[in-house]
């Protein structure tokens, strides 16, 4: 009986369907190429997850609070560009602590800029961050006249190259390495999980996303919570940017721009409500994983380059469609009268 209840609960959840879609897609790729379930491929996917994954954590937290932040790629680019520029110009030879500190510091300030607006002005966050995103990009490209920085500080480059372990394909001898940065993703996801589940701050974010005025009436300091949230989201974005730059071994100021929609889509795909208050970190990660798999399997699937956009589009629509239809169907059984 209890098992059935639990099973019904699982079946009502979005995560379940995303997982099904992921499994089905993996099977399809495996059957088509025989390469999906190889150690190298899985490690490559894990590596490719790092940056979008960290972005997704921040995006998820903001979505839960009822906002949509489109400024994080611009924020990350600016923070990392400024950091790299400063350190390269100063000829920094020391450890990773300083780049990390600088990025976190700058990103926190930029996040606070977002936070100041969102916490004090009752206007959809999408609008505000659309403004700040442009300001960040414009500041980076205009005031800092950003250009590509080919040689990043030694410590960053080393961090980008460092690997946890290396897998080898016995037939081809090809290697794949899991970057240390993957640990960072795991750490951040774990931290975010604890924050969202076991801290008053995290639960306040859910409360605000559910009903902001109720949260205020319950004694939540809504402004401080939101402010802090955007600082954290900024820091997470900055870290993701640092990871990307370190892994590429180069700072390209505009590389990250335009990623926001895909990341938001991934998190929404994972079941986070665009209206706030609802969603799980598991779902957000699964959604991101699905998108990463799709983007990283085109050649394995043998899809010609020119058809890849179509394939990506169809996969997004089918993936979201399946879970949307299932969710509607299972909710209908629950007796929602309207809609």
């Amino acid at each position: 009986m209890n098992v059935r209840v639990a099973a019904r609960k699982v079946v009502r959840q979005n995560e379940f369907y995303i997982l099904l879609v992921i499994v089905a897609l993996s099977m399809a790729i495996q059957m088509r190429s025989g390469l999906f379930f190889t150690a190298n491929n899985l490690v490559d996917l894990a590596g490719a997850m790092v940056v979008p994954g960290i972005f997704a954590v921040g995006t998820f937290m903001v979505l839960v609070s009822g906002g949509i932040d489109v400024s994080f790629p611009a924020l990350a680019s600016l923070a990392v560009y400024a950091t790299t520029r400063i350190l390269v110009d100063a000829g920094w030879q020391g450890g990773l602590w300083l780049p990390l500190l600088l990025v976190v510091g700058i990103a926190a300030v930029l996040g606070a800029f977002n936070g100041l607006f969102t916490a004090s002005i009752a206007i959809p966050v999408l609008i505000i961050t659309l403004g700040t995103a442009n300001v960040f990009t414009g500041f980076m490209q205009g005031a800092l006249s950003s250009v590509q920085i080919p040689n990043i500080p030694q410590a960053m480059a080393e961090f980008g190259r460092a690997s946890l372990f290396v897998t080898e394909n016995p037939q081809t001898g090809h290697l794949a390495r899991l970057p240390v940065a993957f640990l960072l993703l795991v750490l951040i996801v774990a931290l975010a999980f604890v924050v969202m589940r076991f801290t008053t701050f995290g639960r306040s974010i859910y409360a605000i996303g559910g009903d902001e005025s109720s949260a205020a009436r319950a004694g939540v300091n809504v402004r401080r919570t939101k402010f802090l949230l955007y600082v954290i989201a900024g820091v997470l974005a900055g870290i993701a940017g640092l990871v990307r730059t370190s892994m590429m071994g180069q700072m390209h100021p505009t590389n990250l721009l335009g990623m926001e929609l895909m990341v938001i889509a991934a998190v929404v795909l994972g079941g986070a409500a665009i209206t706030g208050g609802r969603g799980t970190l598991t779902g957000a990660m699964l959604g991101t994983l699905l998108i990463v798999i799709v983007q990283n399997s085109m050649i394995l699937l043998g899809i010609p380059t020119i058809w890849q956009s179509i394939a990506l589009g169809v996969l997004i629509l089918v993936g979201t469609g399946i879970s949307a239809v299932q969710i509607t169907r299972s909710r209908r059984g629950q007796g929602a009268l309207l809609s």
């Binding site: 801290t199 008053t200 009903d211 005025s213 706030g276 208050g277």
Partner: protein
Amino acid sequence: MLTVDNIIALRNIRKAFSGVQALDDITLEIAPGEVHCLAGENGSGKSTLIKVLSGVHAPDSGEIVLGDHSFRSLTPGEAISQGVQVIYQDFSVFPNLTVLENLAFTSEISERRKFISWRRMRRIAEEALKKIGVDIDLSARVDSLSVAQKQLVAIARALMNDARLLVLDEPTTALTKREVDRLFGIIGELTSRGVAILFVSHKLDEVFEISQRFTIIRNGKHVITCLPEELDRKSFSSYMTGREFDQTPFEPADVADAPVLELEGLGIAGAFEDVSLSLHPGEILGITGLLGSGRTELALSMFGVLRHDTGRILLDGRPVALRSVRDAIAHDIAYVPEDRLTEGLALERSIGKNITIPVIDRFVSRLGLLSGKRLGAEAERWVDRLRIATPSPDNAVSTLSGGNQQRVVLAKWLATDPRILILNGPTVGVDIGSKHDIHQVLRGLAADGLAVVIISDDIPEVLENCSRVLVMRAGRITHHVEPRETSEQELSEYMSEDIVEEVSR
């Protein structure tokens, strides 16, 4: 007997919102252990006063005294820690969180904890529910609960801490008699412990049953503070509204013999079953029952929102299939929904647009263009006819008070020129003045030959305005009652007869 450091007082409070003086020099004192009733028409400033007391709004001037502390203004956190607990009209629950969290979250916040212990929260939540003696699944998400259950959650949450003052803003609008009785029991217990209660309600019976002192306000100004003995219903209403009413039972003028609507053995699995009734032009049929008795589902199936599994619906003796709201409208059926805010109105749109939306296609010329002039005239007509208090029908509905918003919903459906009008809780949260007006409108409509169905658990409302009353219980119609041959007491017993109340689904 009143110790000074226990008194709760608001002194000379003023509060204005861009242009509206919502509170104009209001003073209010509440003694420990007292049930104090705050009465006033819609928009008179009751909720605003409460929000000042609970720290949601900072007053423009005045003083808030809690025991031996005096405050210029409060924050919600301060208010809670000073023992002020509020159950808001909209309950202020978190729809996206579980019952458990809704109950325990506030205490986590007020204790300024950084980390949350789910075990501790569960304990707190269980205790809170035990205190008011209800049983709701703690892991259920609040948006899956019924309105009454949501309210119970809000009440349990407010009562959980050692409140010094419990404020209830229209707490009984969504409760049935039985639940109200239980609430009053809880209130009695609290007052005996010295907790002060500030109570806002538009239901006069309740107000007189429970209150020990009254404060009446009008247009943000203090009118009178007095004891219940000094008031009767009539003077109470006139203090509130500055008008006089007298309510006489409804006598249907001439009811047609041929029914316009018949239900035969209608049923929806899990909601209601075997419902048969007939409705005649010129009558007002009451359907009453507890929440969860299937009354709303019945109404929705008559309006084409829900599809019935068994039985059939006949209009003018001919079976019809109501597959959608549009079908129902095409058959001249109108439905005033239960919750005007989420189901009835588009708040930021204009009054005129809200009224004319179901019939907007009638104002389209052959070229496909809307006739603004005719639309405006139609809106004006309804604003006048239902006496909706607004300077212009072009104003947003959100600028109206609850009673007037309800009139907009009514106007919207009358504008469709229906033959059958179904109203679900037509006067929930509406003040006596507006309520009276709405009832007069309904009676007039019936007299003009409209067939009206009022679904309500407001027993006096049903008894005074309906020509026949059906009692629903657990999805079945159990009694047919003639209002003149019954009493409120009897009706209430029919509604709750041997029901082991199922609060959680």
